[in-house]
C-alpha cells in the first residue's frame, strides 16, 4: 500500500501547442507543434482555413471575367497572379500583345513585387518584436501603392493585366513621378539595413537558424527566395524569360548560407535589383503604341491546353489551363509557390527552439490565402 511511484513517460514531457488561426504569430494558417521544454519535436502544418474553391469557380466565368476573382488569392501581389493567367490564355487563344503593353506589364509586375515584399518584411519585423520594422515598410509601401493607383485606378485590387495586354495606358507625368519615388525609396533601403539587417540582435536571432542545405532545397522542391537563399541562382525571369524579360539585363540575387538570415536578406536584395529593373524599363519603353490587343467580346480559342509560369514574390507561380473551344475554361489549375515552400516547415522546425518558430515560419515566404486558394 502507500503511494506508487509513477515513472515519467515520453508523452508526459511533451506539450501540444496549437499555433492556430487565432494567433498573432501565424496569419490565417494553423500548425500544431509538440514542444519538449524549449525544443520542437513534432510539427504538422494544416492548411485549408481559407479555401474557397478558386479553381472550380473559374469554370463558370469566361476568360475576361475570371480576372477580378483570380487576383484575390494574393491580393497584395495581384498583378503577378493575373500575369501568368493572361500569358496562358494568350497562348490558348493566339493573341499577340503589342510591345508597349509588354513593357507596361513588366513595370506593373515589378512595382507590385515591391509592394508585396515590403509587406512581407513588415510582418517579419513584427514577428521578431521589432515594431519599427513594421511601420517603416508599411509606410514606404505607400510610395508604390500611390504609383499603382495612378497607373491602374485602384490601390490594391488592380485587375490590370488582361488577356491581350493591359487595360489602360500610363497617365501623364507618370514617368517622372515613378523615377522620383523609386529614387527616394532606394535611400530608405539604406535605413532598413542600418536598423534591421545590421542590428546585432537580429543577426543573433537569425544566423545559423533553420539551415536548408542545397541538396535538401532541391529535394523538397522549394522555390523563389527560399531556393535562392540556399545557393541556387534560379529565377523564372532569367531561366524561362517571358514577355520582355529576355531583353532586360539584371543579376539574379542569391546567397549561399541557407539559414534564416539569408532567407530574409534575399528579398531585400531582390528589391534593390527591382528598382534597377524599373528604371531600365522606363528607359527602354517605346514612347507610343498600343497597349492592348483588340478582342472579340467573348474571346475563345481552339481546344487545347497551356502552361505558363511567372516569378511572383513568393516563387514560381504557374497556371495550367485546359480549354474545350468555349469561352469558359474547362479546367484551371493554379500552382503556387507557397504551397511548395511549406513542405520545408516541418523539416526545418523539428529540432529547433520554440523561439525560432516565427523566424523560420515567416522566412519561408508563405502566404496562407494563396496556398489554400
Amino acid at each position: 500500500m502507500g503511494l506508487e511511484i509513477v515513472k515519467e513517460t515520453e508523452e508526459d514531457r511533451l506539450m501540444t501547442l496549437s499555433v492556430g488561426p487565432q494567433h498573432p504569430g501565424s496569419g490565417h494558417f494553423r500548425f500544431t507543434i509538440k514542444v519538449d521544454g524549449d525544443y520542437v519535436v513534432y510539427c504538422d502544418p494544416d492548411p485549408g482555413y481559407v479555401h474557397r474553391g478558386e479553381e472550380k469557380m473559374c469554370e463558370y466565368r469566361n476568360f475576361i471575367q475570371n480576372i477580378p476573382h483570380l487576383e484575390r488569392p494574393v491580393i497584395h501581389d495581384s498583378t503577378n497572379i493575373t500575369y501568368s493567367y493572361s500569358l496562358a490564355v494568350e497562348e490558348l487563344t493566339n493573341i499577340q500583345v503589342p510591345l508597349r503593353g509588354q513593357y507596361i506589364r513588366a513595370l506593373a509586375s515589378e512595382l507590385n513585387r515591391q509592394v508585396y515584399t515590403l509587406y512581407w518584411l513588415g510582418i517579419y519585423g513584427i514577428f521578431l518584436g521589432h515594431s519599427t520594422m513594421f511601420m517603416w515598410p508599411v509606410g514606404d509601401r505607400e510610395l508604390f501603392i500611390d504609383l499603382l493607383e495612378a497607373l491602374t485606378g485602384a490601390r490594391v485590387t488592380h485587375a490590370y493585366n488582361i488577356p491581350g495586354g493591359v487595360r489602360n495606358d500610363m497617365p501623364e507625368g507618370f514617368k517622372d513621378r515613378c523615377l522620383r519615388q523609386v529614387a527616394y525609396f532606394e535611400k530608405r533601403l539604406v535605413e532598413y539595413e542600418d536598423i534591421f539587417y545590421n542590428n546585432p540582435l537580429f543577426r543573433q536571432r537569425t544566423e545559423g537558424v533553420g539551415i536548408l542545405t542545397k541538396e535538401d532545397a532541391i529535394k523538397l522542391g522549394v522555390t523563389g527566395s527560399v531556393l535562392r537563399a540556399s545557393g541556387i541562382p534560379f529565377d523564372v525571369r532569367k531561366a524561362e524569360p517571358y514577355d520582355i524579360y529576355n531583353e532586360i539585363d539584371f543579376k539574379v540575387q542569391y546567397m549561399k548560407t541557407g539559414d534564416s538570415f539569408a532567407r530574409s536578406m534575399v528579398p531585400f536584395l531582390d528589391m534593390r535589383e527591382s528598382c534597377q529593373i524599373i528604371r531600365t524599363l522606363l528607359d527602354k519603353m517605346p514612347q507610343s503604341g498600343e497597349v492592348r490587343a483588340k478582342l472579340q467580346p467573348n474571346p475563345k480559342g481552339p481546344a487545347g491546353e497551356s502552361y505558363k509560369r511567372v516569378e511572383s514574390g513568393r516563387g514560381a507561380l504557374g497556371y495550367y489551363i485546359v480549354s474545350d473551344g468555349t469561352p469558359k475554361p474547362y479546367r484551371v489549375k493554379l500552382s503556387v509557390g507557397s504551397f511548395r515552400n511549406i513542405l520545408a516547415l516541418p523539416y526545418l522546425l523539428i529540432g529547433s527552439k520554440l523561439a525560432d518558430m516565427p523566424s523560420i515560419y515567416w522566412s519561408l515566404n508563405y502566404w496562407p490565402v494563396e496556398a489554400d486558394r
Binding site: 504569430g25 519599427t132 511601420m135 542590428n199 540582435l201 516565427p358
Partner: protein, 421 residues
C-alpha cells in the same frame, strides 16, 4: 460607437436638458440644503473678533495667508502627504501616466506616424483616460480551472510591490516616504518579489501559453538580479553608506557615472531586463506565445498590471538617477524668496523646489533612455539572454567593483579622499 446614432430630434434634446436640470435641482434641495442647515444650526461656529461667522467671513479668512499657510505647512509635513502625494503614490502615478503617453508619441515620431490623435483637443492628450475607462468597463474573464485566489490577488500584489519600491526612492533631501538605513538592500529585496508574482500568476492561469511565459519571466528576472546587485555595490563602496539619501548627497562635486561608467551600463541593461522592456520582453513575446504570462488578463486586471509596470519603470529610473546621476544635484536656478519683504511663515523653500526640479528632469531623461530601445531593437532569444546575464554582465560588474575599490583605497574618493568634500 458601433451602433448607428438615431436621427437628431429637437424635442428629445430639449427633454434631455430638462431632465438634467430636474435631477440637479432634486439633489441640491434634498441633500445640499439640509447639509448647510445642519452645519449652521448644530455646529457651534466660533465668533471671530466679536463677529458671527458668516460664509463671507469664512471665505475671506481662507485666503488670508497668515491663517492658511501654517495649516498647509503642517499638512505637507505629515506622513499621509508623503505617502499619497509627493514622493509617493500620486507623483509616481502621474509620472507613470505621462510615461505611457510620451512613449506612444515618441515611438510614433520615430516610426514616422502620429500616435494617439483624437482623444482630447490637443493631439490625443486624454488618450490615457479613455483607455482607463475602456479597461474598467470590460468584463474580467477568469479561465475555468484557474486558481481564483491567486488570479485575483496577484495583480494587486504586483502594484503593491511596485509601490513599495517607489516608497524608498527619495525625491528631495528629506522627502522620502520610508527613510531606511538599509535603503538599497530593501529595494533589492522588494524587487525579488516580482519573479514570484509572475510565476504564481502564470501558474494560476491554467493555460499553456502563460505557463511558458511564466517560466521565461522567472528565468529572466532571476538571471538579471545578480548583475543588478553587483553593479550597485561599487556605489555603496564609494558612498560609504547603504542609505539612499546619503548616496545622493555623497555625489556632491562629481557624479558617480563619471567614475563608474561600466557599472552604470550594467545597471541600465539589468533594469531593462527587470522591467521586461524590449529587447528583453520575452515573457510577453507576442508572436510566439501570444501574450506570455499576461495572456489571460482582461479588463482591469490588465490595467493594474500595466500601472504596476510603469510605476516600476519610474522607480528604477529614479534609482538610476540617485545612484549614478547625482540625485537632485544641480545649479540653483530658483530665487531665494519669491515675495521679498514678507515676514512670517513660508511654504516655499528654494533648495527643495530646486531639488525636485532637477530630480524630475533627470528622471524624465532616464525614462526616455529606457524607452529608446523599443524603437530600435527586435526581441532577443532566451538562450542568448541567459548567456548575457550570467556571463558577460557579471564579469563587467566585477571589473567595476575593482575600479571602485582602487578609487577608495587610492585615496581619491570616499572619506578623507582628494575629491570628496
Amino acid at each position: 460607437m458601433a451602433t448607428a446614432p438615431k436621427d437628431f430630434r429637437f424635442g428629445n434634446f430639449v427633454g434631455s436638458l430638462i431632465q438634467l436640470i430636474f435631477w440637479i435641482l432634486i439633489i441640491v434641495t434634498l441633500v445640499g440644503l439640509p447639509l448647510i442647515f445642519i452645519i449652521l444650526f448644530y455646529v457651534p461656529l466660533p465668533p471671530v473678533n466679536g463677529e458671527v461667522l458668516t460664509p463671507y467671513l469664512f471665505f475671506s479668512m481662507m485666503v488670508d495667508p497668515t491663517r492658511t499657510i501654517p495649516i498647509i505647512n503642517f499638512m505637507i509635513h505629515t506622513d499621509m502627504f508623503r505617502v499619497a502625494v509627493f514622493p509617493g503614490f500620486s507623483y509616481a502615478a502621474l509620472l507613470a501616466a505621462a510615461t505611457i503617453f510620451i512613449e506612444r508619441k515618441f515611438l510614433a515620431k520615430m516610426q514616422l506616424r502620429i500616435g494617439p490623435l483624437y482623444a482630447g483637443k490637443i493631439e490625443g492628450i486624454l488618450q490615457l483616460i479613455a483607455d482607463g475607462l475602456k479597461l474598467i468597463s470590460k468584463e474580467i474573464i477568469v479561465p475555468s480551472g484557474a486558481d481564483k485566489l491567486i488570479f485575483w490577488t496577484a495583480p494587486v500584489a504586483f502594484v503593491v510591490t511596485a509601490a513599495a519600491v517607489v516608497s524608498l526612492i527619495p525625491a528631495a533631501p528629506g522627502w522620502v516616504v520610508a527613510d531606511l538605513d538599509v535603503g538599497i538592500v530593501a529595494v533589492f529585496a522588494f524587487l525579488g518579489f516580482f519573479p514570484l508574482i509572475a510565476l504564481l500568476f502564470s501558474w494560476a492561469s491554467n493555460s499553456k501559453y502563460p505557463f511558458i511565459g511564466g517560466m521565461r519571466a522567472l528565468h529572466q528576472m532571476i538571471a538579471f538580479e545578480i548583475p543588478f546587485i553587483l553593479s550597485a555595490l561599487p556605489v555603496v563602496i564609494l558612498a560609504g553608506s547603504l542609505n539612499l539619501t546619503d548616496m545622493a548627497n555623497a555625489q556632491y562635486p562629481y557624479w558617480f557615472v563619471f567614475f563608474l561608467p561600466i557599472s552604470a551600463f550594467v545597471f541600465y541593461i539589468s533594469s531593462l531586463a527587470e522591467l521586461e522592456r524590449i529587447p528583453f520582453d520575452l515573457p510577453e513575446a507576442e508572436s510566439e506565445i501570444v501574450a506570455g504570462w499576461l495572456t489571460e488578463t482582461s479588463g482591469m486586471i490588465y490595467g493594474l498590471i500595466q500601472l504596476g509596470t510603469y510605476v516600476k519603470l519610474y522607480a528604477l529610473a529614479g534609482l538610476f538617477v540617485i545612484l549614478f546621476l547625482g540625485g537632485w544635484a544641480g545649479p540653483q536656478i530658483f530665487p531665494e524668496e519669491i515675495m521679498p519683504g514678507y515676514t512670517g511663515e513660508k511654504i516655499y523653500n528654494a533648495t527643495t523646489v530646486n531639488a525636485v526640479f532637477w530630480f524630475t528632469l533627470k528622471t524624465l531623461g532616464m525614462i526616455m533612455l529606457i524607452l529608446l530601445p523599443r524603437g530600435i531593437n527586435p526581441r532577443i532569444r532566451i538562450d542568448i539572454l541567459l548567456h548575457t546575464g550570467w556571463y558577460k554582465l557579471i564579469v563587467l560588474a566585477f571589473i567595476n567593483i575593482f575600479v571602485a575599490l582602487l578609487l577608495v583605497y587610492g585615496g581619491i574618493l570616499g572619506p578623507g579622499g582628494l575629491l570628496s568634500t
